[in-house]
Protein backbone atom coordinates (compact mmCIF):
# COMPACT_ATOMS: atom_id res chain seq x y z
CA UNK A 1 0.00 0.00 0.00
CA UNK A 2 1.01 3.61 -0.56
CA UNK A 3 0.96 6.22 2.18
CA UNK A 4 1.24 9.98 1.75
CA UNK A 5 3.54 11.44 4.41
CA UNK A 6 4.18 15.10 5.19
CA UNK A 7 7.44 15.73 7.10
CA UNK A 8 7.19 19.09 8.84
CA UNK A 9 10.89 19.47 9.64
CA UNK A 10 11.91 19.41 5.98
CA UNK A 11 8.60 20.60 4.55
CA UNK A 12 8.49 17.71 2.06
CA UNK A 13 5.64 15.36 1.18
CA UNK A 14 6.58 11.80 0.26
CA UNK A 15 4.79 8.73 -1.00
CA UNK A 16 5.96 5.66 0.89
CA UNK A 17 5.35 2.04 -0.05
CA UNK A 18 4.46 -0.05 3.01
CA UNK A 19 3.47 -3.66 3.61
CA UNK A 20 -0.10 -4.32 4.79
CA UNK A 21 -0.58 -4.00 8.59
CA UNK A 22 2.53 -1.90 9.02
CA UNK A 23 2.49 0.59 11.83
CA UNK A 24 3.91 4.11 12.09
CA UNK A 25 7.02 2.79 13.82
CA UNK A 26 7.81 0.88 10.63
CA UNK A 27 7.15 3.96 8.52
CA UNK A 28 9.55 6.02 10.66
CA UNK A 29 12.20 3.34 10.30
CA UNK A 30 11.92 3.47 6.51
CA UNK A 31 12.18 7.25 6.59
CA UNK A 32 15.13 7.15 9.02
CA UNK A 33 13.32 9.32 11.57
CA UNK A 34 13.61 8.74 15.30
CA UNK A 35 10.23 8.41 17.10
CA UNK A 36 11.46 10.96 19.65
CA UNK A 37 11.72 13.63 16.91
CA UNK A 38 8.11 13.63 15.72
CA UNK A 39 4.47 13.43 16.75
CA UNK A 40 2.49 11.43 14.17
CA UNK A 41 -0.91 12.74 13.14
CA UNK A 42 -3.14 10.49 11.03
CA UNK A 43 -6.05 12.09 9.20
CA UNK A 44 -5.80 15.05 11.64
CA UNK A 45 -5.82 12.87 14.79
CA UNK A 46 -2.76 12.42 17.03
CA UNK A 47 -1.77 8.76 17.14
CA UNK A 48 1.02 6.68 18.67
CA UNK A 49 3.78 4.90 16.76
CA UNK A 50 1.99 1.59 17.34
CA UNK A 51 -0.98 2.70 15.22
CA UNK A 52 -1.47 0.51 12.15
CA UNK A 53 -1.54 2.46 8.90
CA UNK A 54 -4.24 1.89 6.28
CA UNK A 55 -4.15 2.33 2.53
CA UNK A 56 -4.93 5.93 1.59
CA UNK A 57 -4.02 7.35 4.99
CA UNK A 58 -2.42 10.77 5.18
CA UNK A 59 0.25 10.96 7.84
CA UNK A 60 1.72 14.21 9.10
CA UNK A 61 4.93 13.97 11.09
CA UNK A 62 4.99 17.08 13.24
CA UNK A 63 8.43 18.13 14.39
CA UNK A 64 8.94 18.31 18.14
CA UNK A 65 11.66 20.91 17.62
CA UNK A 66 10.09 24.32 17.61
CA UNK A 67 12.83 26.77 16.83
CA UNK A 68 16.56 26.66 16.86
Amino acid sequence: MRIKVFIQRTGETRLVELEENSNIEKLLKILGISPSEVVPVRNRIIVTEKEVVRDGDEIRLLSVVSGG
Binding site: S34, S36, I45, T48, E49, K50, V64, S66, G67, G68
Partner: protein
Protein backbone atom coordinates in the same frame (compact mmCIF):
# COMPACT_ATOMS: atom_id res chain seq x y z
CA UNK B 1 -3.46 1.45 20.69
CA UNK B 2 -6.00 2.39 23.35
CA UNK B 3 -5.45 4.21 26.64
CA UNK B 4 -4.74 1.81 29.49
CA UNK B 5 -6.78 3.95 31.86
CA UNK B 6 -9.98 4.45 29.84
CA UNK B 7 -9.71 2.62 26.49
CA UNK B 8 -9.94 5.80 24.38
CA UNK B 9 -7.50 6.26 21.51
CA UNK B 10 -3.92 6.65 22.74
CA UNK B 11 -1.87 9.72 21.83
CA UNK B 12 1.27 8.86 23.79
CA UNK B 13 3.26 5.83 24.90
CA UNK B 14 5.38 6.28 28.01
CA UNK B 15 8.88 4.83 28.41
CA UNK B 16 7.38 1.96 30.40
CA UNK B 17 5.11 1.20 27.42
CA UNK B 18 1.88 2.59 28.87
CA UNK B 19 -0.51 4.11 26.32
CA UNK B 20 -2.44 7.24 27.33
CA UNK B 21 -5.34 9.14 25.72
CA UNK B 22 -5.27 12.94 25.53
CA UNK B 23 -7.08 13.40 28.88
CA UNK B 24 -4.87 10.99 30.79
CA UNK B 25 -1.75 12.29 29.05
CA UNK B 26 -2.61 15.82 30.25
CA UNK B 27 -2.93 14.53 33.80
CA UNK B 28 0.36 12.61 33.53
CA UNK B 29 2.18 15.67 32.16
CA UNK B 30 0.77 18.11 34.71
CA UNK B 31 1.51 15.78 37.63
CA UNK B 32 5.09 15.39 36.42
CA UNK B 33 5.59 19.17 36.22
CA UNK B 34 4.06 19.71 39.67
CA UNK B 35 6.30 17.00 41.13
CA UNK B 36 9.34 18.78 39.64
CA UNK B 37 8.24 22.16 41.02
CA UNK B 38 7.70 20.69 44.52
CA UNK B 39 10.76 18.42 44.64
CA UNK B 40 13.20 21.13 43.57
CA UNK B 41 11.35 24.00 45.23
CA UNK B 42 11.21 25.87 41.93
CA UNK B 43 8.36 28.24 42.72
CA UNK B 44 7.11 29.33 46.10
CA UNK B 45 4.08 31.14 47.45
CA UNK B 46 4.24 34.90 46.91
CA UNK B 47 6.97 34.74 44.29
CA UNK B 48 6.91 37.00 41.24
CA UNK B 49 7.62 34.93 38.16
CA UNK B 50 8.83 36.18 34.81
CA UNK B 51 8.40 33.60 32.05
CA UNK B 52 11.08 33.86 29.38
CA UNK B 53 9.26 33.32 26.07
CA UNK B 54 10.63 32.83 22.61
CA UNK B 55 7.30 32.35 20.86
CA UNK B 56 8.24 28.68 20.45
CA UNK B 57 6.27 25.72 21.69
CA UNK B 58 8.09 24.98 24.95
CA UNK B 59 7.98 28.45 26.47
CA UNK B 60 4.44 29.13 25.21
CA UNK B 61 3.22 25.88 26.77
CA UNK B 62 5.05 26.79 29.99
CA UNK B 63 3.47 30.24 30.03
CA UNK B 64 0.03 28.67 29.58
CA UNK B 65 0.74 26.12 32.32
CA UNK B 66 1.95 28.70 34.86
CA UNK B 67 -0.83 31.16 33.97
CA UNK B 68 -3.37 28.46 34.85
CA UNK B 69 -1.41 27.58 37.99
CA UNK B 70 -1.49 31.14 39.37
CA UNK B 71 -5.11 31.83 38.43
CA UNK B 72 -5.93 33.18 41.90
CA UNK B 73 -2.89 35.46 41.95
CA UNK B 74 -2.33 36.52 38.38
CA UNK B 75 -0.49 39.72 39.23
CA UNK B 76 2.45 37.50 40.23
CA UNK B 77 3.19 36.42 36.66
CA UNK B 78 4.31 38.12 33.44
CA UNK B 79 6.06 37.12 30.25
CA UNK B 80 9.15 38.57 28.61
CA UNK B 81 10.22 38.17 25.01
CA UNK B 82 13.39 39.34 23.34
CA UNK B 83 13.46 40.39 19.71
CA UNK B 84 17.08 39.70 18.81
CA UNK B 85 16.57 40.96 15.29
CA UNK B 86 16.64 37.77 13.21
CA UNK B 87 14.81 38.64 10.00
CA UNK B 88 12.06 36.22 9.00
CA UNK B 89 12.27 34.26 12.23
CA UNK B 90 11.78 36.09 15.50
CA UNK B 91 9.26 38.54 14.04
CA UNK B 92 7.05 35.59 13.03
CA UNK B 93 7.43 33.90 16.42
CA UNK B 94 6.71 37.10 18.35
CA UNK B 95 3.57 37.82 16.37
CA UNK B 96 2.10 34.52 17.56
CA UNK B 97 3.20 35.14 21.14
CA UNK B 98 1.69 38.64 21.25
CA UNK B 99 -1.64 37.20 20.04
CA UNK B 100 -1.45 34.37 22.60
CA UNK B 101 -0.86 36.85 25.45
CA UNK B 102 -3.53 39.27 24.27
CA UNK B 103 -6.15 36.53 24.14
CA UNK B 104 -5.39 35.56 27.76
CA UNK B 105 -4.58 39.09 28.99
CA UNK B 106 -1.09 38.00 30.09
CA UNK B 107 1.26 40.98 30.61
CA UNK B 108 4.06 40.71 28.05
CA UNK B 109 7.27 42.76 28.09
CA UNK B 110 9.03 42.88 24.72
CA UNK B 111 12.61 44.13 24.45
CA UNK B 112 14.81 44.26 21.40
CA UNK B 113 18.57 43.93 20.98
CA UNK B 114 18.43 47.00 18.73
CA UNK B 115 17.01 49.20 21.50
CA UNK B 116 18.93 47.58 24.36
CA UNK B 117 22.34 47.02 22.76
CA UNK B 118 22.18 49.21 19.64
CA UNK B 119 22.36 46.44 17.03
CA UNK B 120 20.37 43.45 15.84
CA UNK B 121 21.71 39.91 16.01
CA UNK B 122 21.86 39.86 12.21
CA UNK B 123 24.12 42.94 12.33
CA UNK B 124 26.26 41.44 15.11
CA UNK B 125 26.71 38.19 13.19
CA UNK B 126 27.81 40.13 10.10
CA UNK B 127 30.27 42.23 12.10
CA UNK B 128 31.71 39.10 13.71
CA UNK B 129 32.08 37.31 10.36
CA UNK B 130 33.46 40.31 8.45
CA UNK B 131 36.06 41.03 11.12
CA UNK B 132 36.91 37.46 12.18
CA UNK B 133 35.83 38.06 15.76
CA UNK B 134 35.04 34.37 16.12
CA UNK B 135 31.66 34.76 17.84
CA UNK B 136 29.11 32.16 16.76
CA UNK B 137 25.53 33.48 16.33
CA UNK B 138 24.15 31.26 19.12
CA UNK B 139 26.89 32.44 21.50
CA UNK B 140 26.16 36.14 20.97
CA UNK B 141 22.42 35.50 21.12
CA UNK B 142 22.54 33.33 24.26
CA UNK B 143 24.87 35.59 26.27
CA UNK B 144 23.10 38.85 25.39
CA UNK B 145 19.56 37.44 25.76
CA UNK B 146 20.29 35.96 29.21
CA UNK B 147 21.86 39.25 30.30
CA UNK B 148 18.89 41.28 29.09
CA UNK B 149 16.29 39.00 30.71
CA UNK B 150 18.22 38.90 33.99
CA UNK B 151 18.56 42.70 34.10
CA UNK B 152 14.88 43.29 33.32
CA UNK B 153 13.74 40.65 35.85
CA UNK B 154 15.87 42.27 38.56
CA UNK B 155 14.75 45.82 37.70
CA UNK B 156 11.06 44.85 37.66
CA UNK B 157 11.31 42.96 40.96
CA UNK B 158 10.76 39.39 39.78
CA UNK B 159 12.13 36.68 42.08
CA UNK B 160 12.35 33.90 39.46
CA UNK B 161 12.76 33.59 35.72
CA UNK B 162 11.02 30.47 34.43
CA UNK B 163 12.28 28.97 31.17
CA UNK B 164 10.82 26.29 28.93
CA UNK B 165 13.94 24.10 28.94
CA UNK B 166 13.02 20.44 28.70
CA UNK B 167 14.72 17.10 29.19
CA UNK B 168 16.04 17.03 25.63
CA UNK B 169 17.62 20.47 26.05
CA UNK B 170 19.23 19.46 29.32
CA UNK B 171 20.52 16.12 27.97
CA UNK B 172 22.09 17.97 25.04
CA UNK B 173 23.72 20.59 27.27
CA UNK B 174 25.09 17.97 29.65
CA UNK B 175 26.65 16.00 26.80
CA UNK B 176 28.01 19.14 25.10
CA UNK B 177 29.75 20.23 28.29
CA UNK B 178 31.10 16.73 28.96
CA UNK B 179 32.53 16.57 25.46
CA UNK B 180 34.04 20.03 25.80
CA UNK B 181 35.54 19.02 29.14
CA UNK B 182 33.90 21.86 31.00
CA UNK B 183 32.92 20.74 34.53
CA UNK B 184 32.39 24.27 35.82
CA UNK B 185 29.64 24.81 33.24
CA UNK B 186 28.14 21.42 34.15
CA UNK B 187 28.01 22.53 37.78
CA UNK B 188 25.66 25.36 36.78
CA UNK B 189 23.01 23.06 35.29
CA UNK B 190 20.00 21.40 36.93
CA UNK B 191 16.33 22.35 37.44
CA UNK B 192 17.45 25.55 39.22
CA UNK B 193 20.38 27.31 37.67
CA UNK B 194 23.16 29.27 39.22
CA UNK B 195 26.02 28.09 41.41
CA UNK B 196 26.47 31.26 43.36
CA UNK B 197 23.57 33.20 44.76
CA UNK B 198 24.15 36.89 44.22
CA UNK B 199 21.64 39.72 44.39
CA UNK B 200 22.41 40.79 40.82
CA UNK B 201 21.29 37.39 39.51
CA UNK B 202 17.67 36.32 39.37
CA UNK B 203 17.44 32.57 39.71
CA UNK B 204 16.29 30.66 36.64
CA UNK B 205 14.00 27.65 37.04
CA UNK B 206 12.98 24.92 34.60
CA UNK B 207 9.57 23.40 35.48
CA UNK B 208 9.64 21.19 32.32
CA UNK B 209 13.01 19.73 33.29
CA UNK B 210 11.77 16.12 33.17
CA UNK B 211 9.41 16.52 30.20
CA UNK B 212 10.68 15.50 26.80
CA UNK B 213 10.38 17.71 23.76
CA UNK B 214 7.89 15.21 22.40
CA UNK B 215 5.74 15.42 25.55
CA UNK B 216 5.76 19.24 25.32
CA UNK B 217 4.60 18.99 21.70
CA UNK B 218 1.78 16.56 22.48
CA UNK B 219 0.72 18.72 25.44
CA UNK B 220 0.58 21.79 23.18
CA UNK B 221 -1.49 19.88 20.60
CA UNK B 222 -4.01 18.42 23.06
CA UNK B 223 -4.44 21.91 24.57
CA UNK B 224 -4.85 23.47 21.10
CA UNK B 225 -1.86 25.77 21.60
CA UNK B 226 -0.79 26.54 18.08
CA UNK B 227 2.75 27.66 17.41
CA UNK B 228 4.14 28.42 13.96
CA UNK B 229 6.88 26.05 12.87
CA UNK B 230 9.73 28.32 11.85
CA UNK B 231 13.37 27.38 12.29
CA UNK B 232 16.04 29.87 13.26
CA UNK B 233 18.28 30.53 10.23
CA UNK B 234 21.34 30.21 12.49
CA UNK B 235 20.42 26.77 13.86
CA UNK B 236 22.57 25.01 11.26
CA UNK B 237 25.65 26.73 12.68
CA UNK B 238 24.97 25.29 16.11
CA UNK B 239 26.97 22.42 17.61
CA UNK B 240 23.83 21.55 19.60
CA UNK B 241 22.15 20.36 16.39
CA UNK B 242 24.77 17.60 15.98
CA UNK B 243 24.34 16.54 19.59
CA UNK B 244 20.54 16.61 19.31
CA UNK B 245 20.53 14.36 16.24
CA UNK B 246 23.08 12.05 17.86
CA UNK B 247 20.99 11.69 21.03
CA UNK B 248 17.81 11.08 19.04
CA UNK B 249 19.52 8.33 17.03
CA UNK B 250 20.78 6.81 20.27
CA UNK B 251 17.31 7.06 21.82
CA UNK B 252 15.92 4.97 18.91
CA UNK B 253 18.39 2.21 19.73
CA UNK B 254 18.36 2.55 23.52
CA UNK B 255 14.97 3.98 24.62
CA UNK B 256 15.33 6.05 27.77
CA UNK B 257 18.94 7.05 27.17
CA UNK B 258 18.15 10.78 27.55
CA UNK B 259 16.36 10.16 30.85
CA UNK B 260 19.34 8.12 32.07
CA UNK B 261 21.78 10.83 31.07
CA UNK B 262 19.88 13.53 32.97
CA UNK B 263 19.02 11.39 36.01
CA UNK B 264 22.58 10.16 36.41
CA UNK B 265 23.87 13.69 35.96
CA UNK B 266 21.63 14.84 38.83
CA UNK B 267 23.25 12.21 41.07
CA UNK B 268 26.71 13.69 40.52
CA UNK B 269 25.60 17.34 40.40
CA UNK B 270 26.14 17.91 44.16
CA UNK B 271 29.74 16.71 43.74
CA UNK B 272 30.27 18.96 40.71
CA UNK B 273 28.88 21.91 42.65
CA UNK B 274 31.18 21.10 45.56
CA UNK B 275 34.33 20.78 43.46
CA UNK B 276 33.78 23.14 40.54
CA UNK B 277 31.73 26.03 41.85
CA UNK B 278 33.54 29.30 42.31
CA UNK B 279 34.39 29.40 46.01
CA UNK B 280 34.61 33.17 45.94
CA UNK B 281 32.48 35.50 43.84
CA UNK B 282 34.61 37.26 41.26
CA UNK B 283 33.53 40.51 39.66
CA UNK B 284 33.88 41.60 36.05
CA UNK B 285 36.62 44.21 35.88
CA UNK B 286 34.52 46.27 33.45
CA UNK B 287 30.91 46.20 34.67
CA UNK B 288 31.29 44.80 38.19
CA UNK B 289 28.72 42.04 37.70
CA UNK B 290 29.56 38.57 39.06
CA UNK B 291 31.63 36.64 36.55
CA UNK B 292 33.61 33.44 36.26
CA UNK B 293 36.33 35.38 34.42
CA UNK B 294 38.11 38.71 34.78
CA UNK B 295 35.87 40.18 32.09
CA UNK B 296 32.32 38.82 31.79
CA UNK B 297 31.04 37.43 28.49
CA UNK B 298 28.76 40.42 27.87
CA UNK B 299 31.61 42.91 28.27
CA UNK B 300 33.89 40.71 26.19
CA UNK B 301 31.42 40.80 23.27
CA UNK B 302 30.95 44.54 23.81
CA UNK B 303 34.72 45.27 23.79
CA UNK B 304 35.31 43.29 20.61
CA UNK B 305 32.23 44.63 18.79
CA UNK B 306 32.41 48.34 19.70
CA UNK B 307 35.17 49.34 17.21
CA UNK B 308 32.98 48.06 14.37
CA UNK B 309 29.71 49.73 15.38
CA UNK B 310 30.55 52.95 13.54
CA UNK B 311 30.34 55.13 16.63
CA UNK B 312 26.95 53.79 17.71
CA UNK B 313 26.38 53.61 21.46
CA UNK B 314 26.30 50.10 22.98
Amino acid sequence: MTCEDCEKRGVYISLSGKSLCSRHFKRYFEEKVMRTIRKYDLLGYGEKILVACSGGKDSTVLLNFLWNLVKKKRESLAAIAVDEGIAGYRDVKLKGLVKFCEEREIPLHVYSFKEYYGFTLDEAVKISKDNNLGFKPCYICGVLRRNLINNVARELGFSKVATGHNLDDEAQTILMNYLRGNPSLLARLGPKTGVVSDESFVQRVKPFYFCTEKEDTIYSLVNSIEVDFVQCPYHVENYRLEIRDFLNRLESIIPGVKHSLVNNFLKILPLLKRDFSASKIRRCEVCGNPSARNVCRVCMIKMRMTPFLGGREW
